[in-house]
């Protein structure tokens, strides 16, 4: 049942042009996944809940960006709308609903998120319609692609990768060095003590959720010019980014980055060697990691 095409894979590995093209596309998939997965892992690390509706933020980011781009024609504004809109959505969602089920068991949290996956998908269907939409490549990036070692690399891909890397750097440094970052890490460790020291943990929780939503929204906005938009587009991204966090280790930002790039490369090169089994390859990899290291590559706590 494994439709193997090893010739295509080895042929590609031998040619530098194909290698560059496939690596770039692996990076694109990986970076988008990273932005979604890092929000998921951040929310889990601080709030100890898995935001099962995280894919919806990715979806809303893409739709917000598309609408803003159609209205204003400005690509920068579209990105901003995608990120800011989902940040607000995240804050409302956390304060209004998720905060009510923190003490409850996993079942309740899953259910609340499940309800919102259903609601959000239908809301998108109501506002933007059920059909596939596309935002189209902004004019600024409709230039001739770059050729690196014979491989084709559209300039937009470079922008996407650098924005995602910048977000990763800001997030990593912000958490490690700034005061707010320290407070967030303290709240992840011992929320009772943090609130006893006079810090509003509710605000921190809301803020972290908004941040996670914003990152997913940014990923959606960045993906909008290169992927088609449809209600329910968030779910496959959610599953993949969950695989990323499982591989990298829940709560670890570095793990999310490494995991996302690994999955990106598996998808990109796997589509050559195993065209029908690319997804299966991903799951297989996850199973191997889980069996050998149940906490993921960079996870700390015992799972």
């Amino acid at each position: 049942m494994l439709p193997l095409d090893l010739d295509a894979l080895t042929g590609c590995l031998a040619s530098s042009a194909c290698l560059v093209t496939q690596t770039t596309s692996g990076f694109i998939i990986g970076m988008l996944l990273f932005l979604v997965a890092v929000g998921l892992t951040l929310i889990f690390g601080v709030l100890k809940v898995v935001n099962f509706s995280h894919g919806a933020f990715y979806m809303f980011g893409a739709y917000f960006a598309m609408t803003a781009y159609q209205l204003t024609g400005s690509f920068a504004l579209a990105m901003l709308c995608g990120a800011a809109g989902t940040a607000i959505l995240g804050l409302v969602f956390e304060r209004g609903f998720m905060s009510r089920v923190y003490g409850a068991d996993v079942l309740m949290q899953l259910l609340v998120c499940y309800a919102f996956v259903l609601i959000f998908d239908d809301v998108v269907r109501m506002i933007w319609g059920p059909e596939f939409k596309s935002m189209g490549m902004p004019a600024a990036f409709q230039v001739a692609p770059l050729f690196i070692a014979g491989g084709v690399v559209p300039p937009y891909y470079l922008l996407l990768i650098s924005v995602a890397l910048a977000a990763a750097a800001v997030l990593g440094l912000g958490l490690a060095r700034t005061r707010i970052g320290k407070v967030i890490r303290a709240a992840a460790h011992n929320p009772g003590m943090v609130s006893a020291l006079g810090i509003n943990t509710g605000l921190i929780y809301g803020g972290v959720f908004a941040l996670g939503g914003m990152l997913a929204g940014l990923a959606g906005a960045l993906a909008a010019p290169v992927r088609s938009l449809t209600p329910g587009m968030g779910f496959s991204v959610l599953i993949e980014s969950f695989i990323v966090t499982v591989i990298g280790g829940m709560g670890s930002i570095l793990g999310a980055l490494i995991g996302a790039l690994l999955i990106g490369m598996i998808r990109s090169f796997g589509s050559l060697g195993f065209p029908l089994f690319t997804e299966g390859l991903m799951y297989l990899f996850m199973v191997i990691v889980l069996v050998s290291r149940p906490t993921g590559l960079f996870g700390k706590e015992v799972a």
Partner: protein, 339 residues
């Protein structure tokens, strides 16, 4: 944990061992009575719609109740239980279409396939805790779903198994006859529920409750937690698969949606709706969800929106299932009257 606490824990766990036999006899009587009532139903109400509804209840009810063995009794929040429902439907459908064996043989073979699959997946999953377990089971569900979609030559891809499932008569039962199908579904439902109740009431069932409440303590007193969890994971998969077989017989086909994650989501919601503290809670939940689904689909195309709001009402508003709510309310009233 101190000695005193351990003692209290032991008292709270009231194992009704001495009455096991009378209890089982009572269960047999209840099961027989339930089956007779269900089987005689077509004589009173002959509407096809009602019979269809009961058949769907049997399929989803077996699935949801088996999920409750994991969620409610063992504390394993599986979010991929629907994969076994889909596996049952596809396994049975393919067996009937491709090999031409008789219905009972195909049924047993489907259970065997489910057994092996559940054993492999369970062995990987049950060592994981709570949320990891939930999502890795979900990931396996998506793996099975994507396999069904991409293995077009065998499964028909996104079109599903079409062309109908042949249902040759066996033992005087002709499943292409609607009434025969109805009675067989009822029998499978009643037998399945009876067996699951026996599992829940057995010493093994009480071991599961103990693992749910305190897995560390269970392993301290010599219980192999991993093995117990794996056993119930496989058993629950078999009942879910039976539900899938009923579904495949009912629609005379199998579709990728049967293996999609929303089936698992619905299963979790059914358990929530009915309540996980009683054995029959999931059955009540099944009936409620199917009625809700039928009504909502008739009224609006935004089916997910309405369903989502109802789920939120239960999860955030009521914070418990309907049966849990009713039983607590009843207990409170009884206490109040006692005073």
């Amino acid at each position: 944990m101190s000695e005193l606490q351990a003692d209290q824990g032991a008292q709270a766990l009231d194992v009704p061992q001495p009455h096991a036999k009378t209890r089982r006899n009572r269960d047999v009587l209840i099961a027989l009575a339930a089956f007779v009532v269900l089987a005689l139903l077509p004589m009173v109400f002959s509407s096809k719609f009602l019979l269809d509804f009961v058949i769907r209840c049997a399929a989803y009810g077996l699935f949801a109740t088996s999920l409750n063995l994991l969620v409610g009794y063992t504390g394993l929040t599986s979010f991929g239980h629907g994969m076994f429902f889909g596996l049952g439907a596809y396994g049975f459908g393919l067996m009937m279409q491709k090999t031409g064996v008789s219905v009972p043989v195909a049924f047993v073979a489907t259970l065997a396939i489910t057994f092996v699959t559940a054993l492999v997946i369970g062995a990987i999953c049950v060592r994981l805790k709570e949320i990891y377990f939930a999502f890795v089971t979900l990931a396996f569900q998506m793996l099975i779903h994507s396999t069904i979609l991409s293995w077009v030559s065998l499964t028909g891809g996104d079109q599903g198994l079409r062309g109908g499932i042949p249902r040759p008569p066996f033992w005087g039962i002709d499943l292409s006859n609607h009434l025969h199908l109805y009675v067989t579904s009822c029998a499978l439902l009643v037998i399945g529920l009876f067996l699951m109740h026996q599992i829940a009431q057995s010493p093994f069932g009480y071991t599961l409750r103990m693992i749910r409440d305190n897995a560390t303590r269970a392993s301290f007193i010599g219980i192999d937690v991993w093995r117990a969890k794996l056993t119930i994971f496989v058993l629950a998969a078999l009942f879910a698969s039976t539900g899938g077989v009923i579904m495949a017989l009912f629609v005379s086909g199998a579709y990728p949606e049967f293996a999609y994650w929303t089936i698992s989501g619905e299963g979790i919601f059914i358990n929530m709706l009915g309540g996980v503290t009683t054995f029959l809670g999931p059955m009540v939940g099944t009936v409620l969800l199917l009625i809700l689904n039928d009504t909502v689909t008739r009224l609006t195309e935004y089916h997910g929106l309405v369903l989502g709001i109802v789920i939120l009402f239960f999860a955030i508003g009521l914070r418990k299932g309907l049966m849990d709510f009713v039983i607590e309310w009843y207990a409170q009233r009884r206490d109040a009257r006692g005073k």
